[in-house]
Amino acid sequence: MREADDRDSGSWIPAAKTSSPAPTLTSVVPTRPVRVVITAAAFAATACSGNQAGLNPHGPIARSVATHGWALLAICTVVYVVVMVAFIIALGRRRQDADDSPETSARLTRNVSIATALTVITLIGIAASSVVAGRGMYSPSGAGAITVDVVGHQWWWDFQYHDITPSDVFTSPNELHIPVGVPVVIKAMSSDVIHSFWVPNLMGKRDLIPGMVTNTWIQADEPGVYRGQCAEFCGHQHAHMALNVVAEPMDKFQAWIRHQRQPALEPVTDQERHGRDVFMQSPCVTCHAIRGTDAGSHVGPELTHVASRLTLAAGTLPNARGHLAGWISNSQSIKPGNRMPPNSFAPTDFQALLAYVRSLR
C-alpha cells in the first residue's frame, strides 16, 4: 500500500515531539525531504499534547473559563474533603452504644442546618462566579472583529471568508486562519446534521445546526496552531472531524488572505499539466472545485490551495505526498464511511495527478 511507503518518509506519527513554535507556512518551496520534515512537524504541532486542551488556554475566553474552572475545582475539592471527613468521623467515632440522647439530636439538627446553609451560600458563590466568567462569552468585547462563516459537513469543515467583492470570497476547508489579538466571530451553519465547533485552547463550543445560524467568537493571544474537533456526534467519522486554527500576526494573516483569494497556480511542469488533465477527466472533478479551472463542484472540500494546508481529510493525515496518494487511491481504508470513493489510475497518470495536486499551494 502507498500509505505504508509513506510511513518511512513522512511518518504520520512524528517521532520527535516538537515543542517548536508554530510552523510558518511555506512561502519558499523547499526540496522534498525538507518539506516532508516541515509537514511532519506541522502535524506534530497540530496534534500534540496540550494543543487541544482546555487546561492550556491561549485566548481570553478560554483563559477566563480556565480560571473559573480552577476556582470550581478548588471549591469542590474543599467541599468533598469536608464531607468525606465528616462521613469518616461519623463512621469511625468510638461510641459505647447508639447515641439517642436529645442533646445529640439537637446538635445534629443544628449541624445539618448549618451544613445546608453553607451549601446554599457556596452554590450562590458558584452561580455568581459562573455568571461573571460567562459574561464575555456571548459577544466580543473588543472592536474590529472579523467574521468567518463555518459550514459543517459530514465530516469536514468549510470556513468561508466573505468580502464585499464577490471575487474575493474564498473558502478554506478545515483550516481557519485568524489574526492574533483580534476577536473572530464564527457564524456557524450546517449543511447536513448537527456538528459542534470547538477549539479548546481558544473556546467557543457552539453547535452547527441545520436550518439555523448560531454565533460564537474566539480570539488567540499568541501565534500558534490550535487543534479543534467536532464535539457533537455526527455519524460514522465523528472521530475524524478535526480542524486547525492557525493564528498569525496581522501582516502574515493579510498575506495569507491575499494568497487564498488568488485562483489556483498554473501548473508549471509537463507532469503537473498532465496531472491537471487527469483531474479534469477523472471523477475528482464531480465533487471538488479548483478556482481558475473548470472544476466547480462544491460537494467536497475546495482544492484551490490544498497543498498549502497542514493536514488532509479534516485533520486525519499530515499533508504529505504519500498520505495524499493513499487518500486518493483508497480513502475508505483510512476514514471508513467518508463520502469519497476509491479511485484507480494508471501509474503515470497517478504520479501526474499527485504532482498537480501538490502544486496547488
Binding site: 468525606m84 445539618v112 451549601t119 487543534r227
Partner: protein
C-alpha cells in the same frame, strides 16, 4: 426479643385457626404451574424477580459492550472495532443501560418490595404488571437481536435529528431505537401507574403518609416522574417514527420542521430520567443505613421533602444538556441556577445520612459497604455535576470525557452501587438464602477500585480535550496513558461484575438459610418469611409507627374481615391509610402475555410498515377482551360486605 415471644404465644393460642387460614390463603393466592401457568403469573414477587433477573441480564450484555469499547480505546488509532460497529456498540450500551437496565431494575425493586413494605397482598393491577414485564422483555430482546445481527441503532442513545432522521440514517437501525423507546415507555408507564395506585390506596392501616418508609416515598416520586416525563418521549419518538416511516417533517428544517425541537422534547424527558434512576437508589440507601445502624433515618421530614423537591426541580434542568446550541444567554443562566439548586435537596439527604451514621452504631456488612462506596463516589459525581451547571465551564467540557466521567460517577456510583448493596440486602428476602458476606466485600472492593481507576482519569481526559463518542483518537494528543489506565480499570470492573454473578448463583444454591429478619430491619417485608408466601401477609398488619417493626407493640393489632377465599385486598385512603373499601384482585391469566405478544408484534411490524396498525387492531382487541372478561365472582354474604376492622389480638 419480647416481640418474638409475644408472637409465639399468640401463634400457640390460635394455631389451628392460623393453619386453616394459611392453607386457604395459599389456595386463593395460588401461583399457577406448568408452562401456561408460567406465562400467567400475576404475583408481584414472581414478576418482580423476573424483572430484576432480566434487567441484570441486559446489564451484563451492556457491560460487555462497554468492555469492548474500552478495549478499542486502550490505544490510539486502534483497528479492533471499526466506526460502524463502535457506533452501534456505544448506542446500544447507552440505550440498554438507561432504558433496559437502570429504569426497569429500579421499578422492579419497587414491584417486588413496595407491596411487602406497605402491607398488602399484591400490586394493584397485577395483570397489567405481567403485561408490562413481557412488553419490556420483548423490546429488550429485539435490541439484543439487532445488536447480534449487526443492524443495531448507531445514532447514540439520544438519537439527535437530523442524524437519526430519514436522510442521514437510511435503513431500519434508528427505527429499532425509536421503537425500543415505545416498548420501554409502555412498560414503565404501566408499572408507574401500578405503583402509584398501590402506594396511595392499599397501604396497611396506620401507615399514614408521614409513616411511609423512605424507599416507598422514593418509588412514589419516581413513579410520578415517569408519568410526567415519559409522555414527552412518547411524543418525540413517535414524531421520529412518523418522519421516517410516513414522511412527515417534524424535524426537517427544509420543510419548516425544527432540529432543536427534538432536543427539547428528548431532554425534557432525559433529564428527569436521570432522577428516575437515582431517586429509588436514595430509597435503597436509606433502607440500608437504617437497618445497619438500627436507627431510623435522621430527619425523616427533611428527607421526604428533599425527595419531593428533587422530583419537581428535576423537570427544570433539561436545557443544561443544550448549552452549546445557541439559546439566549438569559435563559441559560436560569437553567444554571436550577441545575445548581437541585444540589440543595441532595446535599440535605447526604447530611441527614451522615447524621444517621453518627447517631447509630454502624455494622459493616456488605450492603453497608456498598452504601459507603456510594458516598465516596456519588458526592464527587454530584460536585462535578455542579461544575457542569455553569454555562462557561460546561461549554468547555460539554461532550467530552469529563461528562462521561461525571455521569458514570452519578449513575454507577449514585445508582448501581446502592442497587447492588440493595441486592445483597434483600437477597435473603428474595430467595430465602443469605449472600456470602466475605465474597461480598471482595466484590465491593473490586468494583470500587475498578470503578475509580476506570472513570476518574476520564475527568482529566475531558479537560485535555478528548471528545466523547469517538471510535478512535490520534496518537500524540497526550491521551494515551490515561486511556490505557481507564481500560485497565475496566478489567477490574469486569472481574467485580463476574464475582457478583458468581456470588448470586452460589448463594442461591448453597447460601445460609435466612430467617424472617436476618438484619433486624424495620420495614414490614421483614415480618414475613423469606421468601414471602404468595399472599404476603397472613393477617394484614396495622402499623403503629414510622418504623413498622421497631415501633410494633408486643401484641400488634391486625386487620380482620378480609376474605381469604377470594383475592380480596384492603383499600385505604390516601392520607391516613384509614380502611375505606375492599377490592378483589383478578386471578392469574394468560391473556396479558398474549396481549404483550400481539403488542410487540405490532410495534416491531410498524417499523417496517404503517399497515401493522390496522392489521394488529383485531388480535389486540381479542386479547384485551380476553383479559378483561369478567370472571365468576364469589357469592357474598351480607356480613362480609361489612368494613374490615382492626382487631386487637390479645393473648
Amino acid at each position: 426479643m419480647t416481640d418474638a415471644m409475644a408472637l409465639e404465644r399468640r401463634q400457640m393460642i390460635t394455631s389451628a385457626d392460623q393453619e386453616r387460614l394459611r392453607r386457604q390463603l395459599a389456595d386463593t393466592w395460588y401461583v399457577p404451574r406448568g408452562i401456561i401457568g408460567w406465562f400467567s403469573v400475576a404475583d408481584h414477587k414472581t414478576i418482580g424477580r423476573r424483572y430484576i433477573i432480566t434487567a441484570f441480564c441486559f446489564f451484563v450484555f451492556a457491560g460487555v459492550l462497554a468492555a469492548l469499547m474500552r478495549l478499542q480505546l486502550a490505544v490510539p488509532n486502534n483497528h479492533f472495532l471499526g466506526p460502524d460497529l463502535y457506533n452501534q456498540i456505544f448506542t446500544v450500551h447507552g440505550t440498554m443501560m438507561m432504558f433496559l437496565f437502570a429504569v426497569p431494575v429500579m421499578e422492579a425493586m419497587g414491584v417486588y418490595l413496595v407491596p411487602l413494605m406497605i402491607g398488602t397482598r399484591n400490586i394493584a393491577f397485577p395483570r397489567l404488571n405481567a403485561f408490562s414485564y413481557y412488553v419490556y422483555l420483548f423490546g429488550g430482546v429485539m435490541l439484543v437481536v439487532t445488536m447480534l445481527m449487526n443492524t443495531a441503532p448507531d445514532v447514540g442513545w439520544f438519537s439527535y435529528v437530523p442524524l437519526a432522521g430519514p436522510d442521514y440514517s437510511p435503513g431500519k437501525r434508528a427505527d429499532f431505537w425509536a421503537q425500543l423507546i415505545t416498548f420501554t415507555e409502555v412498560s414503565a408507564l404501566a408499572v408507574s401507574v401500578e405503583l402509584v395506585a398501590t402506594i396511595f390506596k392499599t397501604r396497611a392501616p396506620g401507615m399514614s403518609l408521614n409513616r411511609m418508609p423512605l424507599f416507598v416515598w422514593a418509588m412514589l416520586i419516581t413513579a410520578f416522574m415517569v408519568i410526567f416525563a415519559m409522555p414527552t418521549i412518547v411524543t418525540c419518538s413517535s414524531f421520529l417514527l412518523l418522519d421516517r416511516l410516513v414522511g412527515t417533517h417534524f424535524y426537517n428544517p427544509a420543510e419548516g420542521g425544527d432540529a432543536l425541537l427534538w432536543q427539547h422534547l428528548f431532554w425534557f424527558f432525559g433529564h428527569p430520567e436521570v432522577y428516575i434512576i437515582f431517586v429509588p437508589a436514595l430509597g435503597i440507601v436509606s433502607s440500608i443505613i437504617a437497618a445497619f445502624t438500627w436507627r431510623p433515618i435522621f430527619g425523616y421530614p427533611a428527607m421526604v421533602m428533599s425527595l419531593v423537591a428533587t422530583g419537581f426541580i428535576g423537570f427544570g434542568l433539561w436545557v443544561h444538556h443544550m448549552f452549546a446550541t445557541g439559546l439566549p444567554a438569559l435563559g441559560l443562566e436560569y437553567f444554571t441556577a436550577a441545575s445548581i439548586v437541585i444540589a440543595i435537596p441532595t446535599g440535605i439527604q447526604i447530611f441527614c445520612w451522615i447524621a444517621s451514621l453518627w447517631r447509630g452504631r454502624p455494622r459493616f456488612h456488605t450492603p453497608l459497604w456498598f452504601v459507603l462506596g456510594f458516598f465516596a463516589i456519588f458526592v464527587l459525581g454530584g460536585l462535578s455535576g455542579v461544575t457542569l451547571a455553569s454555562v462557561p465551564f460546561d461549554l468547555q467540557v460539554h461532550d467530552t470525557y469529563y461528562v462521561v466521567a461525571h455521569f458514570h460517577y452519578v449513575l454507577l456510583g449514585g445508582s448501581v452501587f446502592p442497587l447492588i448493596g440493595g441486592i445483597y440486602f434483600w437477597f435473603p428476602k428474595f430467595t430465602g438464602r443469605m449472600m456470602d458476606d466475605g465474597l461480598g466485600k471482595w466484590n465491593f472492593w473490586l468494583l470500587f477500585i475498578g470503578f475509580n481507576i476506570t472513570f476518574f482519569p476520564m475527568h482529566i481526559l475531558g479537560l485535555e480535550g478528548m471528545p466523547r463518542r469517538v471510535y478512535t483518537y490520534p496518537d500524540n494528543m497526550g491521551w494515551n496513558t490515561l486511556n490505557l489506565v481507564a481500560s485497565a480499570g475496566a478489567v477490574l470492573l469486569v472481574l467485580g461484575g463476574a464475582l457478583f454473578v458468581y456470588n448470586v448463583v452460589r448463594s442461591y444454591r448453597w447460601g445460609l438459610a435466612a430467617s424472617e429478619n436476618p438484619w433486624g430491619a424495620e420495614t414490614l417485608e421483614w415480618s414475613v418469611s423469606s421468601p414471602p408466601p404468595t399472599y404476603n401477609f397472613l393477617h394484614v398488619p396495622v402499623v403503629e409507627g414510622r418504623c413498622a417493626l421497631w415501633d410494633r407493640s408486643a401484641d400488634p393489632p391486625i386487620v380482620t374481615g378480609i376474605r381469604s377465599d377470594c383475592r380480596e385486598v384492603l383499600v385505604t385512603d390516601v392520607m391516613d391509610a384509614e380502611p375505606v373499601h375492599k377490592a378483589e384482585y383478578p386471578a392469574p391469566s394468560i391473556w396479558p402475555f398474549l396481549c404483550a405478544v400481539v403488542t410487540s408484534a405490532f410495534f416491531i411490524g410498524s417499523i417496517f410498515t404503517p399497515w401493522a396498525l390496522p392489521v394488529a387492531i383485531v388480535p389486540l382487541a381479542v386479547t384485551l377482551i380476553g383479559w378483561f372478561w369478567p370472571g365468576k365472582k364469589k357469592e357474598r354474604r351480607r356480613d362480609e360486605d361489612a368494613m374490615p376492622v382492626m382487631r386487637e389480638v390479645r393473648a
